[in-house]
């Protein structure tokens, strides 16, 4: 399978520059620990905020770390897809006997984000209250979050096929979803909260997966999976439409 092969290659590339690899992993872990410290200080003063106490918020952090570690660590190229498209990287991808989207997504691994992928689950375990059910829900939740995250990035990148640019909007969208996923979604009021469920689906990246672990309900689980599937299909379709446009020669990829 080409996807696995490109992943393997990406891993060995990153592993070859070992000291840089460990440094970046260390930086990410330190970053996460910093956030843990932040939440401890915050909740030192206030018991809970709109139903979120320190444990649940740290669970949110664990979920976000796992999701971003998986999404940006394993599919690192997703973040730069818009730029790849505008730089003409599609030509190389289209010349290969593989699905261009899966090839481009699997092409590189970001070691610093893998630090998150380790930290997230570790934090989850450290929070205690482990049970087979919770672990399974954590895995399901992070899977949903990862699918939504990567799909969102692909959707943003696909815009480049239609409106050009160098993928700056994709970078802004990335920063926005990351920022919005870092805080309990219930702190936001009506309109903003709506955004989190739609335009910038941060709720599906961290908020809802966290609720899934704490307050499982089959309805919640199935609707989350449904939404994730919807995002994935939408991203695949949007990218495909973009590629068709690109191949027809009418896409503007002005650099």
């Amino acid at each position: 399978m080409i996807f696995a092969a490109t992943m393997r290659k990406a891993f060995s590339e990153a592993w070859a520059k070992r000291s840089s690899f460990w440094f970046q992993v260390g930086v990410m872990v330190a970053n996460d620990l910093f956030f843990v410290a932040f939440w401890f200080l915050f909740f030192n003063e206030v018991e809970s905020v709109r139903g979120w106490d320190v444990e649940r918020t740290l669970l949110l952090l664990a979920m976000l770390a796992t999701v971003s570690g998986a999404a940006l660590g394993l599919f690192a190229n997703a973040r730069w897809l818009g730029q790849t498209i505008s730089d003409g990287g599609m030509d190389a991808a289209l010349a290969l006997p593989a699905n261009p989207l899966t090839y481009l997504l699997g092409r590189s691994v970001d070691p610093s984000m893998l630090g998150d992928l380790v930290f997230g689950p570790l934090l989850f375990v450290a929070l205690g209250d482990l049970s087979v059910e919770r672990v399974a829900l954590f895995v399901l939740g992070s899977a949903v979050g990862t699918v939504v995250f990567v799909s969102f990035l692909v959707l943003l990148a696909s815009l480049t096929f239609f409106v050009g640019g160098r993928g700056e909007h994709a970078e802004l969208g990335f920063q926005a979803i990351l920022m919005l996923s870092s805080y309990p979604p219930d702190i936001f009021a009506g309109a903003t909260k709506l955004v989190l469920f739609t335009v910038v689906p941060a709720a599906f990246v961290s908020g809802l997966p966290t609720r899934l672990v704490d307050e499982f309900s089959p309805a919640l689980a199935s609707s989350m999976v449904g939404v994730a599937a919807l995002f994935a299909v939408g991203a695949y379709a949007a990218f495909g439409a973009g590629v068709r446009r690109y191949r027809s020669g009418s896409a503007w990829t002005g650099a």
Binding site: F34, A37, F42, E47, Y183, I187, F188, T192
Partner: protein, 258 residues
């Protein structure tokens, strides 16, 4: 006009000529203010309307200025300085008849004035929309002066940190560490009053509070003008540190080649 003043003006003009990245940053700043103020307001609600002495309006304006002050300096400045030192571009600056590090800082200050202006503009708009006008007009004005001192202290400190590039050829690690120090010890994300005693002492003993907490505290409505004196004092120290660090770096170049 002195060379350094001219450098500051040039920094100002350069950013005005090419403001794209700053505009993106200002949008990002707007989102951060929205998110963080929502968080703190929810917190204040949960604790009966005020948290560690800040009511909803005060904490909103705190965030507006704490974030504006930090975003009023170029993102990853330490890394950029490090790259220029590591690549040898800095050696060219040593050929000019001015103190290179001071000239650089002057340029960053000119740049920072534009940046800070943009952030404070956006922030004042957002703050007023979210929580009404600033709690006290006098302290708001002081906050603006304090914010200028804040970015000056920030710029000087970043140059001192970035000097490690003379030895390491780059300064990525320094930037990362610095950012976190400002976020926490500087009171950008959390007012210092929320810290346990030992952490609060550490924060006061370090220079980072000058870069974010001081203007934020004033904007929140607390009449503490002595903060400005503290900032000015730290500015002198930090400037000296930057000059000394660069001088040490230049001496190091003598041994290993520029």
């Amino acid at each position: 006009m002195s060379a350094y003043a001219a450098g500051a003006v040039a920094g100002f003009r350069r950013l005005v000529a090419s403001p794209g990245e700053m505009v993106a940053r200002a949008c990002f700043y707007g989102v951060i203010v929205g998110v963080l103020s929502s968080l703190w307001r929810a917190a204040a609600d949960a604790t009966g309307g005020s948290i560690v002495g800040y009511d909803v309006a005060a904490i909103t304006w705190y965030i507006v200025f704490s974030e504006a002050s930090v975003n009023g300096t170029k993102f990853r400045m330490i890394e950029h300085i490090g790259t220029e030192i590591g690549s040898g571009a800095f050696a060219v600056e040593m050929l000019r008849p001015v103190r290179a590090v001071t000239f650089r800082m002057a340029g960053e200050l000119g740049d920072g004035v534009v940046r800070l202006g943009a952030m404070v503009g956006v922030g004042t708009l957002f703050g007023t929309l979210i929580a009404g006008p600033p709690p006290r007009l006098e302290t708001y004005v002081l906050a603006i002066v304090s914010a200028l001192l804040a970015i000056s202290c920030n710029i000087a400190a970043q140059h001192a940190f970035a000097a490690m590039a003379f030895w390491q050829h780059e300064a990525k690690g320094a930037w990362f560490l610095y950012q976190k120090l400002v976020f926490v010890l500087g009171g950008m994300l959390l007012p210092l009053q929320i810290f346990p005693a030992w952490l609060e002492s550490a924060a006061w003993a370090s220079p980072f509070w000058t870069m974010s907490y001081a203007p934020a505290r004033l904007a929140a409505g607390f009449a503490e003008p002595w903060l400005l004196l503290g900032q000015a004092a730290w500015l002198v120290v930090l400037y000296g540190a930057a000059v000394a660090a660069f001088a040490a770096g230049e001496r190091h170049l003598q041994e290993v080649g520029a």
